[in-house]
């Protein structure tokens, strides 16, 4: 049951060969046998079974839509009214949102059955899912390794077949990097395509919500339900949505693929380089033309990203003051002490590191040299990528320079950790859509390939990824349950 695609599940549910109640119970059983992964912060079986029963009534009436009755989970960054929303932090450990995120509402209206909220790096800050207040998440392909971050719980749960799909958020690679590490598919849409209302803010000029699942076809169905204009999000773009599932099988060619030389450097695992080269050949054999690209701004992607992300994080996280909501210290005699101590006691080390760095680059004397300079460099990075994307339909390369690293590895050196995002941050800086799909293994660990396109080219990216997944079966390869996580 758990190996069906979302399209197959929808068909089986609509033909009543399967009920949502059966499907939901099946996935809840799998979750309860896989607690060692620590992929979830909250699971609500009672609520899930009630939602499944409601979905079954809709399906019996013949009013089911795509995704109606299919179990899923939200990353715990999306506000839900019926479950706590922690954002992986002690600061929000007991927070019950008074409103729900637009994406939560849209998927609920589609008849999605919410099983729970997935674990994540605290406030989405991290690449290993080790900064969560609720403990680290394990990678189902190797339990001593990270699932990636910050959407590590969503990626781990999908890879282990505990849920068929989940939501994620991506500020610098937080959907694509864990998708690559766990051997699943994940899409960061164009900035402004998916509503962020009710998605707890990290860096507002970079954050974007997106879907995570096994295949490009699955992503197309989820994106169709998630995306679209929302008047509650001032960055939301008001334009008609294409039919993403219908675009999956459009003709592949003419197709020009850009391969940046900087993506094939010695520090990139040689097995990853080989897997990308082999994957590109699948398109070449179908008639694609390959164009070598020189992206000279690439060494500045990560430094530029960290200045902007930290600056915006320091501003966004100033709302957590111990007064209006969230954690409040019991030990304070003055207002200032109340705020500073609450923040000290409830924020983890990575969050403090980024707030302090952000405050530094925004402070008097450094603002122009670092923050404004980073915004100018960001313009240069975007210009270079747009020039490249005027020549090619898609830029292809590895999602990450290595496969999933060991839990605890590189933890002492924050800047080394930041380089895990070396290929993913560009899409956020330029607001471009990008997706990651599995393209092979290195020493038993999944390899992800990134496809990045022009603004609003999601249909084309999904079309290419779907073509590749029709020719290969990496996306259907699952970790062995016998390894002990179920």
């Amino acid at each position: 049951m758990h190996t069906l695609s979302l399209r197959e599940m929808t068909q089986a549910l609509q033909k009543q060969q399967l009920s949502s109640t059966e499907l939901t119970q099946h996935f809840l059983n799998r979750i309860s046998n896989a607690k060692t992964l620590n992929a979830f912060i909250t699971i609500d079986e009672q609520q899930a079974m009630a939602a499944a029963a409601d979905a079954d009534k809709i399906l019996i009436r013949g009013d089911g839509k795509p995704l109606t009755g299919i179990p899923m989970a939200h990353k715990d960054i999306f506000c839900t009214q019926t479950m706590p929303t922690t954002c992986g932090s002690k600061m929000l450990a007991d927070f019950h949102s008074p409103y729900q995120a637009t994406i939560v509402k849209r998927l609920a209206e589609q008849g999605a059955v919410l099983l729970g909220k997935t674990n994540m790096d605290e406030f989405a800050m991290g690449s290993a899912n080790e900064s969560s207040y609720f403990g680290h998440v394990k990678n189902p392909w190797a339990l001593n390794r990270t699932p990636g971050g910050s959407s590590g719980g969503s990626a781990s749960a999908i890879a282990a077949n505990l849920i068929p799909y989940a939501t994620g958020s991506d500020t610098g690679g937080s959907i694509r990097q864990p998708a690559a590490f766990c051997g699943i598919s994940g899409l960061k849409p164009t900035y402004g395509l998916a509503s962020r209302f009710g998605m707890i803010a990290f860096a507002s000029s970079l954050d974007q919500a997106g879907p995570m699942a096994h295949s490009a076809e699955d992503l197309a169905y989820i994106l169709q339900a998630m995306a679209g204009f929302d008047e509650n999000d001032s960055t939301s773009i008001n334009k008609p949505l294409p039919d993403y599932p219908a675009a999956l099988n459009k003709p592949l060619t003419p197709l020009r693929i850009g391969l940046p030389t900087c993506f094939f450097q010695p520090q990139v695992d040689s097995n990853i380089q080989q897997a990308i080269t082999d994957a590109v050949k699948v398109f070449e054999q179908a008639g694609a033309e390959i164009v070598e690209l020189n992206l000279s701004m690439q060494p500045l992607w990560v430094p530029c990203y960290y200045v902007i992300a930290c600056a915006e994080a320091s501003s966004n996280l100033s709302r957590f003051d111990g007064i209006r909501f969230g954690y409040r210290t019991p030990h304070a005699d003055s207002l200032i002490e109340l705020i500073t101590r609450s923040r000290h006691e409830a924020f983890g080390i990575e969050v403090k590191r980024r707030i302090l760095t952000g405050t530094y680059v925004l402070s008097s004397g450094y603002f122009d040299d670092y923050y404004v300079q980073a915004q100018k460099v960001r313009r240069m990075i975007q210009n270079e990528l747009q020039t490249a994307l005027a020549q090619v339909d898609v830029i292809i390369g590895p999602t990450t320079p290595t496969c999933a690293f060991k839990l605890g590895e590189k933890i002492t050196n924050p800047t080394e950790r930041y380089l895990a995002d070396v290929f993913t941050v560009a899409a956020n800086l330029a607001g471009l859509p990008a997706l990651s799909i599995p393209v092979g293994f290195s020493a038993g660990l999944p390899i992800g390939m990134q496809l990045m396109g022009a603004h609003f080219s999601e249909s084309r990216l999904l079309n290419l990824a779907h073509y590749y997944q029709q020719c290969t079966d990496w996306h259907q390869t699952r970790p062995n349950d016998e390894r002990g996580f179920t």
């Binding site: 000290h344 924020f347 707030i355 040299d369």
Partner: protein, 98 residues
């Protein structure tokens, strides 16, 4: 670029984060390392470049200045750590002295 403990304490005060002796040492080191890492940005010639503020170069959309929500004080009170008589409670701010 090294970040001294004093620099860090100033920044921490601006960021409203209390520092203890353990975290000050570690965070001064970490923030210094991050600032070293991003230092290379300053060497880029950007004299002719306009800062990029929005990835699609759009302006923030504004809504009409009309009330579109109902009074939700009770919901906000429910999630506040200390709340009474429609007020958030905080330690005494003004000391009138003797």
């Amino acid at each position: 670029m090294s970040t001294s403990k004093n620099d860090l304490k100033k920044i921490a005060a601006l960021a409203y984060i209390e520092m203890d002796s353990n975290s000050t040492n570690q965070l001064a080191h970490d923030v210094g390392a991050i600032m070293d890492f991003v230092e290379q940005l300053r060497g880029v010639n950007t004299s002719q470049v306009t800062p990029l503020l929005h990835p699609l170069d759009l302006e923030q959309r504004l809504r009409a200045d009309v009330v579109n929500e109902e009074n939700n004080v009770s919901q906000l009170a429910d999630i506040a750590p200390l709340f009474a008589d429609n007020l958030y409670l905080v330690p005494k701010v003004i000391d009138i002295g003797k």
